[in-house]
């Protein structure tokens, strides 16, 4: 991998980290309402995978989706504007953290229901295949989604119809609080093999390794060799979502958290690039996020009278809650 490529990967991971750290602060401070599911710790997965995609390829994202969306090229200003519920957000303040997506970048929604993106991605992959110009779909999900029947059904559809889709399982070892071994019989990758898919496992804390193996699997998809599966072992440095963080709920062994934090993918790649390069990129990223915060905080709020705007793409008369 060239140094330029490594620098690009580092910059993208750092952007996600800086974005998420700022968001976590804002969520805990109540500036972001509801809550967020921080991607901190898992950056190498989104960045490594998306580094192998073009603007014409598609992804489906998850409730822990900021990293995927940023790695696919979304403008952090507009992502943060969405999290603050403003009209400058991708979803004009109608989606929030779990649904923020710039669909112009081929992001087919970030989904609040675990495992829901796989079948949607398969439908998109079917259309991509019919178009015949080598576009592919990547569907991201966590290890918890491997217990959702609809995702396993989607594997089957993708396999029988030989669809150009890469299923990326971000195995962060916890389905909210349930440990992997308590919730998953067998292994994720072996299950995928059962559907006749090529399945690989990779160290999800090594962005270069993720990028390399993704590149091979995506190439297969582009060549019409059917779906593939990639299991990335990774870890979320913080809890499941910001509210648990705020409440101080931690169900993981503190030593385990420390061990994984020592394998921080950003620090690891930074060490290869050297302090000067890292300092320069970090400074630039910080400036980008400062600017995003400034932009989002000054963005206009939607008008309450428009609360049901966009409910239908076509027309339908909707009656109000009270008729006097």
């Amino acid at each position: 991998m060239t140094r330029e490529h490594q620098m690009a990967l580092y910059r993208s991971m750092k952007l996600i980290r800086e974005f998420e750290e700022r968001c976590l602060d804002m969520a805990i401070a109540g500036e972001i309402i509801g809550g967020i599911h921080p991607y901190i710790g898992q950056e190498a997965v989104a960045v490594g995978v998306c580094s192998q995609l073009t603007e014409r390829d598609f992804i489906t994202s998850t409730h822990r989706g900021h990293g995927h969306v940023l790695a696919k090229g979304a403008d952090p200003r507009r992502l943060l504007a969405e999290l603050l519920g403003t009209l400058e957000g991708f979803n004009k303040g109608r989606g929030g953290s779990m649904h923020a997506a710039d669909m112009k970048l081929g992001i087919l929604g970030a989904n609040g229901i675990v495992g829901a993106g796989g079948a949607i991605g398969s439908g998109a992959a079917w259309v991509a295949k019919a178009r015949g110009n080598s576009e592919v779909v990547v569907s991201f999900f966590g290890d918890g989604a491997m217990s959702q029947g609809v995702l396993l059904e989607a594997f089957n559809l993708a396999a029988i119809w030989s669809l150009p889709i890469l299923f990326v399982c971000e195995n962060n070892m916890y389905a909210t609080s349930l440990k992997l071994e308590s919730g998953l019989a067998g292994s994720a990758a072996r299950r995928a093999e059962g559907f006749g898919m090529v399945a690989r496992t990779v160290d999800g804390m090594d962005v270069e390794a993720v990028a390399d193996v993704t590149g091979e699997l995506i190439q297969r998809c582009r060549e019409g060799k059917g779906p593939a599966f990639l299991e990335c072992s990774t870890y979320r440095f913080f809890g499941h979502h910001s509210v648990l963080e705020l409440l101080g709920v931690e169900f993981r062994d503190p030593d385990e958290v420390v061990r994984w934090r020592e394998r921080d993918p950003i620090v690891a790649l930074g060490a290869k690039l050297g302090d000067d390069v890292v300092a320069e990129i970090d400074e630039a990223v910080k400036g980008t996020i400062d600017e995003a915060v400034e932009f989002a905080k000054n963005a206009p709020s939607p008008d309450p009278k428009d609360a049901l705007m966009y409910l239908y793409s076509g027309t339908a008369a909707v009656r109000p809650g009270v008729i006097l």
Partner: protein
């Protein structure tokens, strides 16, 4: 059935983005889908495995990419299995994305309601659930409306559910006139004009209501409104009718609790000029259709109950 089959042929011929997917659609097991695979090929007619949840969201994904999938469910209760995929996914994408995407999918339930002898898990009419959740939902009561509404549903930019009542699919009582007119969504039809009482009749009960109105014609003058689209409902048409007659009876194949009839009666009570309390003829609360034919028929609304409700409302 023939009308819906013709509608599907016509719409697939008119727009190459229209796809058909579902179980046994290749062989046309339901009748509605027959002849489509030979004509349009496997690129547009997809026989799916028995994975309703995945192929429903598969349709959502294809729709987000510009296709117009028609997804067939041969059993009405499969709608329960895919409630998440329709209500929580396809329906919500437009608003949740701030209008970035539309999901023009049609869910075709080719056989809703009792089919006499198919018992507990194959005999429901779950259209009120989708209407309550805000899914555009049509329940045609005649072959001409089945044709015209189905075509409108496929053309609509939003998810639309089409419930074809089993009683009509299997019936030859109402002949398929071969009409090929598009029927817009959201427009009710006054099938019979009258001044004494309005009957709202849904799906197969359009026929029931016409029969009852005729049998009472020497004593009362009944107006029959077929909503055709149950959501969004054509309140203006009903308002005009009820404000004229002052009396309302609804016949609908939903359960009593929170069924479509409940909403129509509630709206009439809130907003219309009634001279008598409105009534519903529907299934009992929480109905599970038993197997034995006499038990099945005891729970599904029919002409006798409608006649009784009309008589009570008019104090005949």
């Amino acid at each position: 059935m023939h009308a819906m089959n013709r509608a599907l042929h016509a719409e697939m011929a008119a727009d190459e983005d229209v796809l058909l997917l579902g179980e046994d659609v290749g062989v046309g097991a339901s009748g509605v889908t027959s002849g489509l695979l030979p004509r349009f090929g496997r690129e547009r007619v997809l026989d799916t495995p028995l994975s309703e949840q995945a192929f429903t969201s598969f349709g959502t994904g294809a729709a987000m990419m510009g296709k117009k999938p028609v997804i067939e469910f041969q059993i009405s209760t499969l709608i329960y299995l895919v409630f998440e995929q329709i209500v929580n996914q396809a329906h919500k994408f437009s608003l949740m994305t701030g209008g970035q995407v539309s999901v023009p999918v049609t869910y075709l339930v080719a056989g809703s309601g009792s089919r006499s002898g198919w018992a507990g898990q194959h005999s429901d009419s779950p259209y009120s659930l989708l209407a309550q959740a805000g899914i555009k939902t049509v329940v045609p009561g005649t072959p001409a409306d089945a044709y015209g509404l189905f075509r409108s549903a496929i053309r609509d930019p939003d998810p639309v559910a089409v419930f074809a009542p089993s009683a009509l699919l299997e019936s030859t009582a109402v002949p398929d006139s071969g009409a090929e007119e598009i029927v817009p969504l959201g427009e009710a039809n006054v099938l019979r004009e009258g001044g004494d009482l309005t009957v709202v009749a849904v799906g197969q009960h359009v026929g029931t209501a016409l029969e009852v109105a005729d049998s009472l014609s020497d004593r009362v003058d009944i107006e029959i409104v077929d909503p055709r689209t149950v959501y969004p409902f054509d309140w203006d048409c009903l308002r005009k009718s009820v404000n004229k007659t002052g009396r309302l009876v609804v016949i609908d194949d939903s359960n009593r609790m929170c069924g479509l009839g409940a909403e129509i009666v509630a709206t009439a009570a809130e907003e219309f000029d009634l001279v008598a309390p409105p009534r519903r003829v529907c299934r009992p609360d929480g109905t599970v259709i038993p197997y034995a034919l006499a038990l099945d028929k005891a729970l599904v609304p029919g002409p006798e109950q409608l006649m009784q409700a009309i008589s009570a409302t008019l104090k005949l």
